[in-house]
Structures are given as C-alpha cells and as structure tokens.
Amino acid sequence: MSGRKIGEVILDLQNISLRFGGVKALTNISFDVREHEVRAIIGPNGAGKSSMLNVINGVYHPQEGRINFRGEERRKMEPHMAAMQGIARTFQNIALFKGMTVLDNVMTGRITKMKANFLEQAIRIGRAGREEVEHRKKVEEVIDFLEIQHIRKTPVGRLPYGLQKRVELARALAAEPSMLLLDEPMAGMNVEEKQDMCRFILDVNDQFGTTIVLIEHDMGVVMDISDRVVVLDYGKKIGDGTPDEVRNNQEVIAAYLGVAH
C-alpha cells in the first residue's frame, strides 16, 4: 500500500439485524469503516454479505440497529439519498442499463450533480447544454482511467461480461463517490481480468482516496488488497480484523477458509 493515510471511522454500524419474514439475513452485526481504507466483507454463500451492502446504501432497512455515517445518526434512508451523500456501488449481478451506450451509462452516474431543470433541458438553453459538456469531460476522464475508450459508444448489452463489470465500476466512479461499495467485482473473471480489476480498485483508493467496502470470494485477492476484513457466516459476524488476524482466527478457518481451500 502506498502513502494514503487511513483516517477516522466514517461509517459505524451497531447491532444491525435484518429479517425477511422468517429468514434472518443479518443478526446483531456491528462493524465500522474508516476513511480511505479498503474494507472487505467475506463469508460463504448466503452469509448476508450483499444484504450488508444493501443496508449501507439504503436498499434494505434493518429492523434493528443503528447506523452512523459521517457523525450523523441515520434515520430510514432511501437509496437515492445515499447517492447524494456520496455512496456509490456496483452489484453482484451486473445492473447496467442495457439499452444505453457505455457513455450514457457512465453519464447517468453523474445525475445527482446535474442541476439543469426540465424546461432548460427540453429547450437546451442555459445550464443544460453547458452541463452536458462539463460532465462529459469528467466522464471521459473516468473512461480513460478505466481504459474503456474504445467501447464508448457501444450499447452495453453487447459487451462481454468482464467489460460490463468495468463499465459498472465506471458508472459508480462517475459520481465521484467518497465511499464505494463493490459486490463481488471480480466474480466470473479470468486471472488477467481480475488483476486489472484489482489494479483499478487500488488506484481508485490511492488516487482519489475513496473508501472501499468490498465483497469478494477470492481469498488471495482479499488478503492482498484489503486493510481490514469482516467475516460473516449465517448472518452473524464471526471475525473482524486485519487479513492476518482473520486468517488465523479458528472460527473463521472452520466456517469459511477450511471449506474454500
């Protein structure tokens, strides 16, 4: 890791419980995320990892628990509010806008920053045209950063899986988030694609100081790039600490690493 400095706790989750009818997806989970760190969430299938991300950005509302983001106690919050506060994410199953080009997908990522009103857009006067140009510049930077210039005008539905994942990251980055939630960004990729993705994630963290919360199944990757790891199993937290601490935690080995290796 380079010179970036890990800061204060910016996201603090206390005793989170989430149920779907009788299914307990999360039970009494507490953990925190520090500014600028790469925080990994690991665990076997169905452990509640995706649910955890969904709680963080307001897609799911936990029945119990408290969430504190940047010093503010959060009440019930809708996902678009999380976006406004600078939380962006990618999905486990690619959730791109299939009918739109790469460029439009990434432009959509900047929607919270565009201020022109409806009439200005319809007539293309005032801010509307200016904004399109300004934001296009920023979007092109992201496109350059992720090396997807060549597919800029391709409808995303036609792209191979690995590139779609990258476009999804681009869309999230276009929002210039302060916190980025990544749900298995490397799933289904070959070794080379994984390496690229790792490099991009570390670069984002490094260059923009973006805090990253990452779900990943590949233990090698997790151990390599994360600062701290939280381990879930059957909706419960069974481990939390640096990669080394987690690796040597008996409960974790039994529940997870033992099965995976």
């Binding site: 678009h80 739109m100 959509t108 293309r124 399109e132």
Partner: protein, 355 residues
C-alpha cells in the same frame, strides 16, 4: 453524395453532442423541413393535406407521447387516446369559458390538463409494473371516456357529449384552409419533436431509460424513481393532450368522447411497435405506416383484386395485415422501422463497398 462520417472528427464534446452530429443528417433534416413547409403545401391537393397529412402529423405527435412513456421510460400504457380526449375537451372548455383565450394557449392548457390527469393515472406505476400497469391505464381509458360522456359540463351540455371545435385564430388570422391548418399543426409538431429529442439526450432522458432498464440500479445512482416516472407520465400525456386538441381543432372539428376509444389507443400503440419503441423517428414512421396502410390496401383491393374479393373485404384485410405486421415486428425486429432505417443508413455509410 456519400453518407459518411469520415473526415468529420469531433474535436470538442460540444460538437459530439449536437442534436444531429452527422453533417448529412443535419442536411437531411433541413431538407425534410423545407419539403414539409414549402413543397408539400404546393404539391399536394386539399384531399391529401386534409385527410392524410394532417392526421399523420397528429398521430405522430400522439405516438411520440406514448413513445416517451413506453419506449423511453418503460411504462406500458393503453390510455393514450383518453389523454388525447382530455386535451381536446380541456382546450374546448378553456376556449369556451375564458374570454379572449388565444388558441395556442388553449392548446397548452389542454396539454397541461392532460398532464395532470396523466400524473394521477400514473400513480399506480409506483407500485406495479408491466402487464398490471397496462391494466391500470386501461382503467384510465374507460374512466375518462365515461366521465367525459357522463358529465355534461365537459361538453357544455350538448347531446351525447359532442363538442364542436371553435374557430382557430392567431392575431386575427383565421385558420380556415387546409394548408393553413397543416402549417399550424406542422409547426407545433416540429417544435415538440425537437423538445422531445432534447429531453431524451439530456439527463432526464437518461433517467427515464435508466428506470426502464434497471430500476434498482437507477435508484442507487441517485435517481428519484417516483419523480422520474411521474414526469414521464406528465410529458407523455402533455404530448397526447396537444395531439388530441389538434385532432379536434385542425382535423375533424366535431368530436365525441367515444371517438377517443380503446381502438385509438391500440392504434397509437401499434404505431410505436411498428415504428420503433424508444425512437423519435420511429413515432413518425409508425404513424405514416398506419395512416397510409389502409389507403394503400383500399387501392390495392379495388385496382388489382377487383372482382376476386368483394370490396367489403378490404377492411378485414386491413386487420389481417395489421395483425401479421405486429407479430412480425414483435418477433423479428422489436426496434421497428426505425431500426430498419438505421440499418439502411449503416449500409449506406459503407456503400459502395460491401464490408
């Protein structure tokens, strides 16, 4: 003349974001406008203008409205005709009840009334999708036509809800001739089409498409789903409402609520399926197709098949051909004529070299 992008490098984002980025497209659009505004009124006789071109333009506008809602925002609607009815009846009442109401303002008010009604009937879209939403808009279709018939106030207590459009007049100029009405309709349709094109290439259009393609992701990005969907209903209904007002004022003159029945809603839906879902050009192509097809079939039956089939068969033949085409487009080319048009352009771009 070659249709090429070659040599037209975009050196600024502004150039790349023009409304028609390819020079030939720009020329093409200007040419079409010139023909529509100058040549058509000189070349076509009154029958063509009155019975074919004016309804073509009006239906294009309605189809454009539906395409914003269904094609761009992904919300299926079977109530387009009802929103046209709201536009027609509201414009009529504004003209009737407000002294010195300018006709264009009455059209805008008609459109806005339709937008308000559209928002009300769009509320179920916040909870339900697809087929179920279509059923909810079907309810709008029946309810609106029923209400306009049932409550005499809307038609100023005329028998069976019929209204007769007042004379159109702008700054003392009376729109009586077919040409003048055509030019008025054309101007309105062109302006609204340009506005639609601007919307769909701005952030509001991207928000519509995002909600259409993946609503959870859209919300997570920061799009307010409710606001976005209801805006689509409002804009769509506004377009249908203005189309309805023009239908009454510039096309048939005397309308009753029943004239805006489910059949008409389906016709508009067919226009966007055939023309191209999610395409501005598609709305025009689809409307042209559906307005012209019955005429072409009539001619065919009378000229070529005369004696083989009785003339009464032509209307049934229409249904058969419609049905066949809808199935064809749904299965083979879901993007409709607009897509075929694009493929044609793509080929032209490479012509005369096959690859």
């Amino acid at each position: 003349m070659f249709y090429r992008e070659a040599g037209q490098f975009k050196t600024t984002y502004l150039a790349d974001q023009q409304i028609f980025p390819i020079t030939q497209d720009r020329i093409g659009v200007l040419l079409i406008l010139a023909v529509a505004f100058v040549a058509v009124p000189m070349l076509f006789n009154e029958y063509w203008i009155k019975a074919i071109l004016i309804p073509f333009l009006i239906f294009s506008l309605a189809a454009l409205g539906l395409n914003i809602l269904t094609g761009y925002a992904g919300q299926l609607s079977l109530g387009s005709a009802a929103f046209m009815a709201v536009g027609a009846f509201a414009s009529y009442n504004f003209m009737l009840r407000v002294d010195g109401m300018p006709i264009l303002i009455a059209f805008v008010c008609g459109g806005l009334s339709a937008a308000v009604v559209g928002i009300a009937f769009g509320l179920p879209s916040l909870r339900i999708k697809g087929f179920y939403l279509a059923v909810a808009t079907l309810a709008a279709q029946f309810f609106i036509v029923w209400a306009l018939t049932k409550f005499g106030w809307f038609s100023n207590y005329s028998s069976s809800g019929v209204i007769t459009a007042q004379e159109m007049q702008i700054f003392g100029y009376k729109f009586v001739t077919a040409e003048s009405k055509y030019l008025l309709v054309l101007s309105i349709v062109v302006l609204l089409a340009l506005a639609a094109k601007n919307m769909v290439r701005s952030s509001i259009g991207r928000a519509w498409m995002a909600v259409r393609d993946m609503d959870v992701a859209a919300e997570v990005i920061g799009i307010r789903i409710m606001h976005t969907k209801l805006l689509a209903f409002a804009v769509s209904s506004f377009y249908c409402g203005v189309a309805g007002a023009l239908y009454a004022y510039a096309y048939i003159g005397t309308v009753e609520p029943e004239g805006f029945n489910l059949d008409l809603s389906f016709k508009i839906l067919f226009m966007i399926i055939i023309g191209g879902v999610g395409s501005i050009v598609g709305a025009f192509l689809g409307a042209a197709f559906i307005v012209l097809l019955p005429i072409a079939l009539d001619v065919m039956v009378q000229e070529w098949l005369h004696g083989i089939f009785p003339p009464s068969i032509s209307s049934n033949l229409q249904l058969v051909v419609f049905g066949g085409l809808i199935i064809f487009f749904l299965i083979v080319e879901p993007h409709g004529l607009a897509r075929l048009w694009q493929i044609g352009k793509q080929k032209l771009r490479l012509w005369p070299f096959p690859h």
